[in-house]
């Protein structure tokens, strides 16, 4: 098994290389098949790895590939850590990735850049696998930046459109802001622990003591990294824009895998966070704020993918809320379920877009359920799952988070519940506007409406099944579940568990409370659904056209709280202005002027000294005599 593990990332890499190097020479259909098959193999290996290590307490192992960097005390092997956490992530990545590859074969069928697309996708999977498999922070960082690159390449996949390119650039740059935090954290870790290996860091973390400044700094910086990659406040703005990429990309990268990297990273370093309550509080706060913030924006969006994007941001906020309140399992659980249903939703949306010839505005859709039956059903299942209706997967994962949040602070629970309400509302609003009512697009679009090919619907069905049953991986004990995921992850979370066991300050909720909370959240979701139904099905309301008069609040959320505009005014414009100013006034008229002034002063001196050379012998003789006098005077003074 150990030997095969290194093939998990190598397979997609090989796929990338073959597709990438052959590019034009590669037959289009072959490209998809190749890319998908390497994913299939990778998944098979991941799955068998999973089988081999599950239920075994000390099954994790490290695979060394080669020494990456060895400088002085800094030793960074290129090695993979195979443990329950990474294997789970690998399965999600390769599994969901495989499905999306399959889907893409249909979705991208007519695109001329198909080969390139699959090459990028494979490359992305490669980096994502590096991210989760790396046994130290550097390898993780390699993957971390690599997925950012692929995200950049895929968002700007249709490079002729400069708006898409802008979105890609924005994604990369905002991510880099986070990356800076991450890499500074790595420096701190190295300087503190003398190693960047997870094992070493975790082993010596507790020596620093709870709440030490150093740990807080490290974790805060790590969290900054996570906010970038996982689109949290204040660095979330790139994710909605990232929808410019092809829809499978949105599904794979911007919903299921890459954006959860931040959560993975925090779970990976869980003990560090457990030891710094301040950071945890910050994370919880940011998480819930993001969840709420994005959810409210989602209420008023009209672009099918934008709604899903804000939903993703919001769901990621939930995950961070979970991390902040110490429920690492809950977070990962939600990562998993979210991967299923959000991938499903995106792919469904892709199917819809495919059907309506590229239209993304839900105001111009409607009544599609008849024509796109499979898409509709699967999309419905996904929507229910995300809204948190039992027994769909989303219910369990979200409920676990909300329960943990409640035990941490009821206020957090309250805010989370509001976000959950919004989620249910806007998701069903989306569903209703898209599939119910009558078609609002052009006649031509109507004429073209068709269900997607099997390569696209098959992944939808598989994901739909997973979205429905995914929750069974970790049914809470209170509902008679085995909390399988928690047990599976126990070795990874052992340091945290031990620490809590030793300090014992985690209050357990009573069963009654848990039941109450569950009930409350279901009720809240249902209210949201009903409200959406009333508004968009019963009243047949359609969101206002662009430019219509709107209330202040509506306008505010429709324009996403003007965050982009604010960032533009606060960061982008000043930076550009600074650049122009710096060049004109500091560089050219400042430093360079000063440099030139030095040489000019010599020229000036030259002009002055030239004046002495009058051409008049009398003057020369006088000057000579003055010289003589000066020397003799000097001599006289020395006597």
């Amino acid at each position: 098994m150990k030997e095969l593990v290194k093939f998990i990332p190598l397979l997609p890499l090989a796929g990338f290389l073959v597709n990438g190097l052959l590019n034009k020479k590669m037959p289009k259909t072959m490209a998809g098949l190749l890319a998908s098959s390497v994913m299939a193999f990778a998944f098979i290996i991941s799955f068998s790895t999973f089988l081999s290590i599950k239920d075994q307490p000390n099954a994790s192992f490290v695979v060394n590939i080669y020494d990456f960097i060895n400088v002085g005390s800094l030793k960074i092997p290129f090695s993979f850590l195979i443990d329950p956490l990474s294997v789970l992530m690998m399965m999600i990545i390769t599994g969901v990735g495989f499905l999306i590859h399959i889907y893409s074969m249909g979705y991208m069928h007519d695109d001329e850049g198909q080969v390139r697309f699959f090459a990028y996708l494979n490359l992305f999977v490669f980096f994502m696998l590096l991210l989760v498999m790396g046994s130290n922070y550097i390898i993780m960082f390699i993957g971390w930046e690599g997925v950012g690159l692929c995200s950049y390449l895929l968002i700007g996949f249709w490079y002729k459109n400069q708006n898409y390119n802008d979105a890609a650039k924005k994604a990369f740059i905002v991510n880099r802001v986070g990356d800076l935090g991450f890499i500074l954290a790595i420096f701190l870790i190295f300087n503190q622990f003398g190693s960047v290996q997870f094992a070493d860091v975790i082993a010596s973390a507790s020596k620093l003591g709870t709440g030490s400044v150093m740990l807080t700094a490290i974790t805060l910086l790590l969290f900054v990294g996570a906010t970038g990659k996982s689109a949290q406040l204040p660095l979330f703005t790139w994710l909605p824009d990232a929808m410019a990429g092809p829809t499978p990309v949105s599904a794979l990268i911007h919903a299921a895998t890459m954006v959860t990297a931040g959560i993975y990273m925090i779970i990976r370093s869980n003990i560090l966070f457990t030891l710094s309550p301040t950071t945890c509080a910050v994370i919880a706060g940011v998480g819930v704020a993001t969840a709420l913030f994005a959810a409210t924006i989602g209420l008023a969006q009209n672009d099918i993918k934008k709604v899903l994007a804000y939903s993703t941001v919001s769901q990621l906020g939930f995950m961070f809320l979970a991390l902040g309140v110490g429920s690492y399992t809950g977070a990962l659980f939600h990562v998993m379920t979210h991967a299923f249903f959000k991938a499903l939703l995106f792919l469904g949306a892709g199917s819809v877009i495919h059907a309506v010839s590229g239209e993304q505005d839900i105001r111009k859709m409607g009544g599609l359920k008849g024509k796109l039956t499979i898409t509709f059903i699967t999309f419905l299942l996904g929507t229910i799952a995300i809204s948190g209706i039992p027994p769909f997967s989303g219910f369990f994962s979200k409920d676990e988070i909300l329960a943990a949040a409640f035990s941490y602070s009821p206020i957090l629970w309250g805010l989370g519940a509001v976000a959950a309400f919004c989620t249910a509302f806007y998701m069903f609003r989306l569903l209703f506007l898209t599939f119910f009512g009558t078609f609002r697009g052009t006649e031509e679009q109507k004429h073209h409406l068709h269900e997607s090919p099997i390569s696209m619907t098959l992944p939808l069905m598989v994901l739909a099944v997973l979205s429905v049953v995914g929750g069974y991986a970790n049914i809470p004990a209170v509902l008679g579940g085995g909390e399988y995921l928690a047990k599976y992850l126990a070795p990874v979370l052992a340091p945290t568990t031990e620490y809590i066991a030793a300090h014992g300050h985690k209050a357990h909720l009573s069963h009654e409370t848990e039941y109450a909370l569950m009930g409350a959240s279901v009720v809240i979701a249902l209210i949201g659904i009903i409200l959406a139904y009333v508004t968009y099905v019963a009243k047949k309301a359609v969101p206002a056209e662009d430019g219509a008069e709107l209330g202040f609040l509506h306008k505010l959320i429709l324009n996403k709280y003007y965050v982009d505009e604010i960032y533009d005014a606060v960061f982008v414009k000043p930076l550009y202005a600074l650049s122009s100013f710096g060049y004109k006034f500091v560089e050219v008229s400042g430093i360079d002027k000063l440099v030139n002034l030095t040489s000019d002063s010599f020229v000036l001196g030259s002009k002055v000294s030239s004046k002495l050379q009058t051409g008049n012998v009398g003057t020369y003789l006088l000057l000579m005599v003055i010289g003589v006098i000066a020397i003799l005077a000097y001599n006289f003074s020395r006597i």
Partner: protein, 463 residues
Amino acid sequence: MIALVILALLGVFLMMSGVLGIGRKSAGVVATLGIGAALLANTLMWDKDVTALNEMFNKMMIVDNYGLAMVGVILASAFGLFLLSDKYFSEITNYFTEHYALYIFALVGMICMVMYNNLSMLFIGIEIMSVSLYILAGSNKTNLASNEASLKYFLMGSFATGILLMGIALIYGATGSFYLSGIESHFVDNPDSNNIIALVGMFLLLIGMAFKVSVAPFHFWAPDVYEGSPTFVTAFMSTAVKVAGFASFYKLMYICFTPNILYWESVVWVMIVLTISVGSITALIQTGVKRLLAYSSVSHAGYMLITILTANEDSDLLFYTAAYVIASLLAFGVLFLVIDAKGDDKVESFNGLSKSNPFLAFSLTVAMASMAGLPLTAGFFAKFYVLTAAVKDGYIYLVLIAIVNAMVGIYYYFKVVIAMFFKEESSETISISVSPFYKLVLTSGILATIVLGVYPDLVYNLI
């Protein structure tokens, strides 16, 4: 000494043939060969025991390796220059033979200046040289500039002679001797000498010599005279004359006044600073290459003057003068041709020379690089040795000022290079034909500059 005799006879011979009006065509060849013979004779004396010869004339002149080396540089530069003389003479005058005779006499004077051991020899040597130069500077009689140069040089030169003589007189009065050794022993015997008369004499002597080598503030004649004189004379003045001046100046200061250095150190220090700065800074905005080279020569005089301050570094001076002379020869060689072709010496006249005549452009570039003191040229080590000696003696600030001026120097030397390589010729290209002698001199100049830039020991270890 034999060189002296050869040259004196050669001069008389040329003069007589001039009077008789014969051998006009071959005068140049005879003169060049004669200088060559003198150079050979000079070289043959190297390392020989010449006590008897020195005694013969009562040690009025001392033949030693220092003198031989310096005379060697002078004669070699004159030899090189004469090889380049073909066009020059026929154009400005009918009196070639007499001209050649005057150059030869000037060389005789220089030998006296370099090898003197008695102030009378120094004085007479200087006068022979100066008188010849006064005439040569004005040899283009119908040219006002030449005339003006000649008169200026003459007036100021004789004035300086007056000062020099006053110095000699006072020195004699104080020390009772015209012999260098006599003067030296006076100062050595009276180490804390406050013999004011001797000191005044010393300073006046210093001033007189400073004038001859164009050290500020007694340099004012140089730019005007260099510019006004026929180019060939300018070349002669900035090579052989300069070397002779410094060789004698150095000898004088080193032998006689080193015991007294505390008295004149600061004066010379100031002179050096003034010379280097005035030379290089004023050169910045010059548009004529001759004038530019004149200021450059002033500035180089400052560097050479450093050797006098640091003393006991004969090799420094030798190397510096050798490097400077070679570079000057190269520069003037090209300048002759360009002036000949273009009619003036403006920097613009050099525009596009690299295209019409790359060889000349390259020669001049090497010359300028050497004068600027860039590595791989002799000029670099020349400055390097001088500045090293100065730092060794603790003249850090002096060196810093010198360095700043070296930077300024690069600026104006490269103005010419820029014109040659990077600027387009305004009018149509005039191709300049280069005679074999020019090729010979320029090629050997380039080689010498580079060889000395890589392996300076060749000259430096001579003395």
